[in-house]
């Protein structure tokens, strides 16, 4: 042992800390890496409009601290959106933290050091008016299709893909989308001969879990494929309803 006499462990760790809405910091390295990987984040500059105009971090949306409380509707409906707040320094950003965290954004952090720290580290800033509207489009999971794309194929409005229904036989007996190939997820690897290799395969099940598994199998086998990461119900005649997952 190293001889430390007063060691304690916060065993519940980060999940408990986050859940309790306690403050969180992120650092410049993280924001930089988000930029490099084009990972979407909501970046909020809480200084006044003039300061933001003089210099702001690329991608920042200007929401001055005194306007923040009334800007709730500008924020994304998706509460999983990571929000990074920065002010002139750490403390200025901290003041806005509890407001945004209070709206339910669990992944809200304050940029440690604020823009002062960012600039001190020699990181680039932009001049001119910062954006005033928040645009947040989450990066889809690899292989996940948009509901719109899936619908176009399911309704035969687009011809280069086929639907693969990987629900169980009991479920598909109740109805399948017109033109769909039905193979239960666990049989996909043994029944590849039934799946055309020259088409893009759009996989669905009922919740996305089995569809993703089948998608992974197809991908390993060299297929071009995507899957519906949403809830879908198919009625007897083949009509279907898709609802987004929470």
């Amino acid at each position: 042992m190293l001889g430390y006499t007063n060691i304690r462990v916060f065993h519940d760790g980060m999940p408990a800390w986050k859940k309790a809405g306690k403050p969180l910091f992120s650092n410049a390295k993280s924001l930089q890496s988000n930029m490099e990987t084009e990972t979407p984040v909501v970046l909020i500059d809480v200084r006044d409009v003039e300061s933001a105009k003089a210099a702001h971090i690329k991608g920042a949306v200007s929401v001055p601290a005194d306007m923040l409380a009334s800007a709730k509707d500008k924020f994304p409906s998706n509460k999983k959106a990571p929000v990074i707040i920065y002010g002139a320094d750490t403390e200025a950003g901290m003041k806005a933290f509890s407001t945004v965290r209070g709206w339910g954004f669990k992944d809200t952090t304050v940029l440690m050091g604020g823009i002062a720290g960012w600039q001190k580290a020699g990181l680039p800033v932009e001049t001119g008016a910062a954006a005033s509207e928040i645009v947040y489009v989450p990066k889809p999971k690899p292989g996940a299709l948009s509901i719109n794309d899936f619908t176009l194929v399911a309704d035969h409005k687009k011809g280069d893909a086929v639907i693969l229904d990987v629900r169980s036989d009991d479920e598909t007996d109740e109805g399948t989308i017109k033109g769909a190939i039905a193979i239960p997820a666990e049989e996909v690897s043994a029944r590849l001969a039934e799946i055309p290799k020259d088409k893009i395969i759009f996989v669905h099940c009922s919740t996305g879990i089995r569809a993703e598994m089948a998608y992974l199998t197809l991908k390993e086998e060299g297929y071009k494929a995507g899957y519906l990461d949403a809830n879908i119900k198919v009625a007897k005649g083949g009509e279907y309803t898709i609802t987004e997952k929470e």
Binding site: V9, F10, H11, P15, N27, T109, M213
Partner: protein, 196 residues
Amino acid sequence: MIYRKIAQAALGMAALSFVLVPGTIMAKEAKPKVLKPCLQCHKDNGPNDIRGKLGSVSMKSETIKVETGGAPWLITFDDNTVVNGAEALNKIDDGHEILVAYREEGGAMIADRVDVKPPAQLDPAMLITIDELAPLVEQGPEKGKFTLVDARPGKVYIEGFIPGAISIYDAQFEENLDKLPKNKDDLLVFYCGGPT
């Protein structure tokens, strides 16, 4: 990962914008059987052991997805699969560390046994609660005379950490002893991603 836009022809519909991973590049890539951080404690893995994080479970297709750092593993199970440490496979939290001992049958992987990693046993006297920690964090390490160590990987730390925490990834602990406080009687608090 490289994404590729698929040619679009949407019969006058709005342009399609989905992206797909080209199958030929991803096909049959080698994937690790053991998730790297697990190797710290578990060096003796059998040839038919998969050790990683549970990704998802489908009770309907009797398949689990296990993440080990590369393309995920899909392993089927049945009534004979022994589950240790959980009531059933769908009662295990997503992301929990598991060991799957499998056999191969006709090209398919079938789980003989799934062990769920038990929570670490700690002396209750060593624990600090959130209600004890929060006021300290508010004071800051200097005033509160403590050192707070985030033991998660550095990549996770930078995305969001408790104010005042320093980063020493558990797996690189020995190389970072110089970051610990000089005074060995000062309070030293560790945290990570929760009980696993």
